[in-house]
Symmetry: C2
Subunit: 479 residues, 2 copies
Amino acid sequence: MGKKNKDFVEKITAMEDDFAQWYTDVVKQAQMVDYGAVRGTMIIKPYGFAIWENIKNELDRRFKETGHQNVYFPLFIPESLLQKEKDHIEGFAPEVAWVTHGGDEELAERLVVRPTSEVLFGEYYAKNIHSYRDLPMLYNQWANVVRWEKTTRPFLRTSEFLWQEGHTCHADQQDAEEETKRMLEIYAEICEKYLAIPLIKGRKTEKEKFAGADYTLTIESLMHDGKALQSGTSHYLGTGFADAFNINYSDKDGETKLVHTTSWGMSTRIIGGLIMMHGDNRGLVVPPKIAPIQAMIVPIAQHKEGVLDKAYELRDQLKDLIRVDIDASDKMPGWKFNEYEMKGIPVRIEMGPKDMEKEQVVLARRDTGEKEFVALTDLHTRLPKLLEEIQQNLFDKALVHREEMTTVAKNLEEFQKVLDEKGGFIKAMWCGDQACEEKIKEDCQATSRCIPFEQEEVSDSCVCCGKKAKELVYWAKAY
Amino acid sequence: MGKKNKDFVEKITAMEDDFAQWYTDVVKQAQMVDYGAVRGTMIIKPYGFAIWENIKNELDRRFKETGHQNVYFPLFIPESLLQKEKDHIEGFAPEVAWVTHGGDEELAERLVVRPTSEVLFGEYYAKNIHSYRDLPMLYNQWANVVRWEKTTRPFLRTSEFLWQEGHTCHADQQDAEEETKRMLEIYAEICEKYLAIPLIKGRKTEKEKFAGADYTLTIESLMHDGKALQSGTSHYLGTGFADAFNINYSDKDGETKLVHTTSWGMSTRIIGGLIMMHGDNRGLVVPPKIAPIQAMIVPIAQHKEGVLDKAYELRDQLKDLIRVDIDASDKMPGWKFNEYEMKGIPVRIEMGPKDMEKEQVVLARRDTGEKEFVALTDLHTRLPKLLEEIQQNLFDKALVHREEMTTVAKNLEEFQKVLDEKGGFIKAMWCGDQACEEKIKEDCQATSRCIPFEQEEVSDSCVCCGKKAKELVYWAKAY
């Protein structure tokens, strides 16, 4: 054991000392990502990608159940096409990557590597929608997108990331608005039930909405360090893109009308949220419902006769019940414990010669560190139940944390004091004037996260200007 | 019915008249693709993408069963990194897209949009492999790649396409060569058993192998028009990339050794093969095992009482058995027949008032056009069996076609005559000299497709130079 072993998990920075460094240490040590050769890009390693695949599968199933079809649109957008919707190009132009040459030749027109694909879908829909019979047209694609960001961090902000983008066309406003809401609810379900991330659902302000949208719905979550993360957005685009791209249809009476469009997306960014929501100073904590491995069997004294055979037998008995794996490598059990704690595997199953004698195993929970002895005959009922308890506990803990970190502020002094002392969400009334929103951003570095669907009147005057309040807003420093 | 209806399937060019135009008509009319805004790119529409998803799922399952892990590597490759492996950069440089600007700034180093990712994986493996315990390392990614092609056709050759690329590292040559073969066999299984595409398996010549490989294994198929299609390749890269990227490991005795690497890929190109293999003058024909919809219910006289109810009931009864859908739109049955024939849906289930009385349906096969009456009580056994028969028939027909279109040639005169008169595969002996291969390509526009695993001695002298033959080669004009 004197020799340095590359498999051994290195110590990570404590989150209280340096949260950003803790995050970086965890994503590296838990084998989630590696840095790409190009600034701001990431390599998603098998463990990180397996988590993304689980999220993807859950989302994709729900998209299909709600009538959406998957498609694939090209990576490149001609510069002239991106310019068709004015707000849209203004929002994205500063952060796109440009292709200027193909082989040895300079291109006649520069190409944008897609930062999002509204314009490509817009042009397609204009050509392919003719009649009310064609509506709604409900497309989704799983794709990579590129945004040339100045400051990057794995998952949270990368020059290239993976996502899905839904783009839909509807005959009227009501149908499109229902779609916008429906997709937000699907994102919310995945976050709350699978990722154990409690959410505030609401609408973005005019200032924070998507470039080109009528309005943007959002789900906002609060990370361990008290900063907010936008976790998924769904945009009602009204008839703006339809007008810019001439997407119209004949209704039942033969009248020509513009369609109403939506778009919505969730990205690998949510994995950053997962890490910052549940992780601790021993590493990652992955909620069971999304964990690539829900339980890891670690044989104890595996050189003793029968231990490994019994451990493999156990793996085979459990593998149709849960996602289980076994580590029978020649590493010491303690090292294995560290590695799977770092990776946040929900349950460790320990089994040694004494357990074999007693026909039991030890179950160790990653979230609380608690251990329990379980008879082999009870494992089939106890394990799934334990996974449920862990899932629920992670959600409950996150909710308690958010509630502790949510504070009402009635004026800017209180607002600043909360930010200085604890951070978190600030619930404060707003007059609706963008000037106040901008002043808060400038003075306090906090942004409006959303106008929550569940409104309360925590005061009757705007937290910034003191004039009559219009609505409650959640504010926070954000990723 | 006088009014032009956009849903109605337009007439397509007969394949005998103009095969290329027939192909273009089919991919458009069957709703597989649309053209992208950038030259040579394609939009994969829902129906085309659903076929790709089915292929992808079958491949992905087998990759995982054989121990491979999915990952995601970045889209961009720095120019300097691509140049590390000399043969590799020479092979790809003429056909890559270059990113030169990010936002408003010119980049210090140009970036390549990946045409393939050997160099990125190479650099990663060099950093992440240390000991024999780390081997084999078996990665795969599903991704888009870009190759700036001059002449493009949907699926067959596009500036951007979707594929998977496997990249693996092994301790020794034997293990790497076994992997190379294993992955080729997986491709072969998908092609033969799912896509009903009969194959010739073999090795590429030195001239035709992948840029940077020791050798390339390939599966080659013969399209309806007598041209060959390379349908999947698996490369044994030896220690060339390991040497260029310094990918080494300590073996059990502490000695430092280079790893042996492989790479292998299958792309959306195979969908082009599927179309050209089974399609006919009524459109696409999709083998049941890969068909997004295996049977389409078309109600007859659906305005009559009970017909639609009964049709939906039938759909619900069948949906756990096969992939079934129903078209209850107000289009005429004849139009629906045309549409689903164009889309190549294997079976049409017709059901009208008379059938209801007799408690039967009509099953119409897409491949042969044959119809049969089947009692509702027999449908659960007959339908799956019929789908199997169709699957087998498509494969058998394709095999007969390939055999009819495979001809032995013993000298260049015979060789040219076959190409002029019928095309197809030419089996001919080769001396192994690249000069002969190049002469054949120049004089006859046919390339060596592969040196088949199953060797025969159809003559004892080279088809080109007449000197002593070394091995049998399949030649053809190819896509």
